[in-house]
């Protein structure tokens, strides 16, 4: 039954894809009307629109473009023409750096906040105000102080990753079952052992969930950040292709952004599974 459900879901997925691709294909097809009456030079300039069709590429064109990117992802033909693999590599590197820095700060700080009611109350107003700020609002400040667009986008990732991790760590640490702490107390367990052998494993699933949320947000934000600062990265690639009016490449980039985002999320989901315990 389970097997057949999976097969049926797969079949349905394929059907959905075929219907979507088919609708897309026919929606953007050139009408076949002649370009009579239009100045040939102008017709050439506006392309398919002159024939009554759409400038939107069809699924076949996008597929062909995707295939080109997949087979040759790492070419480098100057600053405005790099393979999508290189661009994604830049983005992943920035996200990874900002994310790691956020881990280093947010997890110990979250521990502190979760352990102490005083710190919780003292930090709370700052967290509440900082959390809803769009990370991109930090960009000018980062550019002004850090004076480097690359470092600034890493900083923006850092600042957007820190909140979910901080809040979840504090929440997880504060919510550790009283019983487990009491057991450790009656065994006269020291502070460090209490933190690492009891509280950390008990709060680990909640902390990992915070990290997963942070990673999701970081991957959303990096595209916008790179559009803003330019130079390299998948966000810059999307904006550059828009300037080139290459809708085909924009669609291809959307696909790659989704794909990498899914992979990053799955990695963190697997790590969460490692530390999750059944009660």
């Amino acid at each position: 039954m389970q097997q057949s459900l999976r097969v049926r879901a797969l079949v349905l997925s394929v059907v959905l894809f075929v219907v979507f691709a088919g609708a897309w294909h026919f929606a953007v097809q050139t009408g076949g009307a002649s370009d009579a009456g239009i100045d040939p030079e102008y017709a050439k300039l506006i392309g398919a629109t002159a024939k009554g069709g759409s400038a939107m590429p069809g699924p076949l064109e996008v597929g062909a473009e995707l295939w080109k990117h997949v087979t040759d992802p790492f070419y480098d033909k100057g600053p405005n023409d790099k393979g999508v693999g290189i661009q994604l590599g830049y983005s992943i590197m920035r996200v990874g750096l900002g994310f790691l820095m956020a881990c280093v700060i947010a997890i110990p700080l979250g521990f502190l906040i979760g352990m102490s009611e005083l710190f919780y109350k003292a930090f709370d107003p700052f967290i509440q105000i900082m959390k809803p700020v769009s990370p991109l609002a930090w960009m000018p400040l980062a550019l002004y102080t850090l004076k480097d667009s690359n470092v600034s986008s890493v900083f923006v990732i850092f600042i957007c990753s820190i909140w979910p991790m901080l809040i979840n760590t504090a929440f997880g640490v504060a919510g550790v079952r009283r019983d487990w702490i009491n057991v450790a107390k009656t065994l006269e367990v020291g502070r460090m052992r209490m933190a690492f052998a009891v509280i950390l494993p008990a709060a680990a699933p909640t902390i990992m969930t915070g990290m997963r949320i942070s990673m999701g947000i970081a991957w959303l934000v990096i595209v916008a950040a790179e559009m803003l600062v330019g130079g390299t990265g998948i966000g810059y690639f999307v904006w550059n292709e828009w300037n080139n009016l290459s809708i085909t490449n924009v669609i291809a980039a959307i696909f790659f952004i989704g794909l990498i985002g899914m992979v990053l999320d799955q990695i963190l989901a697997q790590l969460t599974r490692l530390v999750t315990y059944a009660e």
Binding site: D179, N182, V183, L187, V189, P201, A202, A204, Y277, A278
Partner: protein, 301 residues
């Protein structure tokens, strides 16, 4: 005076009150509690919910502090938790990310930090075997039944070879069959090791089976020790033969009478009689001195 004649635990006039949420009079849970626990004693505390049984146990464990009075253990006042007093919690309190044996190893390592891992594991295994969990030691708590989990909890408490074991209604979450077999095992182990035990329960038969002395606590707020009942059944009693003993029903009726009626009427008793909280009355209900008599015993049967 011989060493064994000195009480291991002396509870001296402790009182606990919680600040009232509206900022008025503090809410007194219990007051003027005096009691002794002798080495090797099995003491049960019986009382209704809300009389502060668990609070009293937490104070004994060092997890909570009394508002007034103090507790002397082995000549020293309690200032905090100690490995000398192991606690078995009501909800087993096993750490779910550790296997059964690792939960015990965690306790053993806390008591003897210098031991090698092999020695710790060997010691833990001994207690796994003692509670008859051999073969299940590598399972996580989630893969164990309720009774098995509580067995691990008891093994963990015993593994650190504590001077006193404090049990907070350890079997209340279990079904009757499991509870019965665990009571038998606990009795067996405690008799064999002459372990000093202080246990909270609200199960009268459990108290009769396990306890040497049963402390009766009146209803809260302002709960007191009503009296201390000595178990009049021989120590070799078992769950299967104890109800045939002539003292069983007098003892049981005395306890039921307390829980049903006297626990709530204690205020009147306190005013009427010469009640001395430092020396609560000691009673030993037997077939001869029973005021309830045989007809009621027959009725209960």
């Amino acid at each position: 005076m011989a060493e064994t004649d000195k009480p291991l635990i002396r509870i001296e006039g402790i009182k606990k009150s919680f600040p009232s949420p509206e900022g008025g009079e503090p809410l007194g849970v219990f007051e003027d509690i005096w009691a002794n626990v002798m080495p090797g004693d099995f003491v049960c505390l019986i009382g209704h919910s809300g009389c502060g049984k668990t609070t009293l146990l937490n104070i004994l464990a060092g997890l909570d502090k009394p508002t007034a009075g103090n507790i002397i253990v082995g000549g020293e006042e309690i200032v905090g938790p100690s490995v000398d007093r192991a606690v078995v919690f009501q909800g087993h309190a096993l750490m779910p990310w550790m296997s059964a044996i690792d939960n015990i190893c965690f306790a053993v390592r806390s008591k003897w930090p210098d031991w090698s891992s092999a020695k710790i594991r060997e010691h833990a295994q001994k207690y796994i075997d003692l509670v008859r969990l051999s073969g299940s030691e590598n399972r996580k708590p989630a893969q164990l039944s309720g009774g098995m989990k509580q067995r691990v909890g008891i093994a963990r408490a015993m593994s650190i070879e504590p001077k006193t074991m404090l049990l907070d209604e350890p079997f209340s979450a279990l079904d009757a069959l499991t509870r019965g077999s665990l009571q038998d095992e606990l009795l067996q182990i405690c008799t064999a090791t002459t372990q000093t035990v202080f246990m909270i329960t609200h199960d009268i038969d459990e108290a009769i089976l396990l306890a040497d002395r049963i402390i009766l606590m009146t209803n809260g707020p302002h709960a007191h020790i009503c009296e201390i009942v000595e178990n009049s059944l021989p120590r070799d009693r078992t769950r299967h033969n104890m109800h045939h003993h002539e003292n069983y029903y007098p003892l049981r009726n005395h306890l039921i009478e307390f829980l049903v009626n006297r626990s709530a009427q204690f205020e009147a008793e306190l005013a009427a009689e010469t009640y001395d909280p430092r020396n609560p009355p000691m009673v030993r209900p037997t077939a001869e001195n029973s005021d309830e008599g045989a007809p009621r015993a027959a009725l209960a049967q």
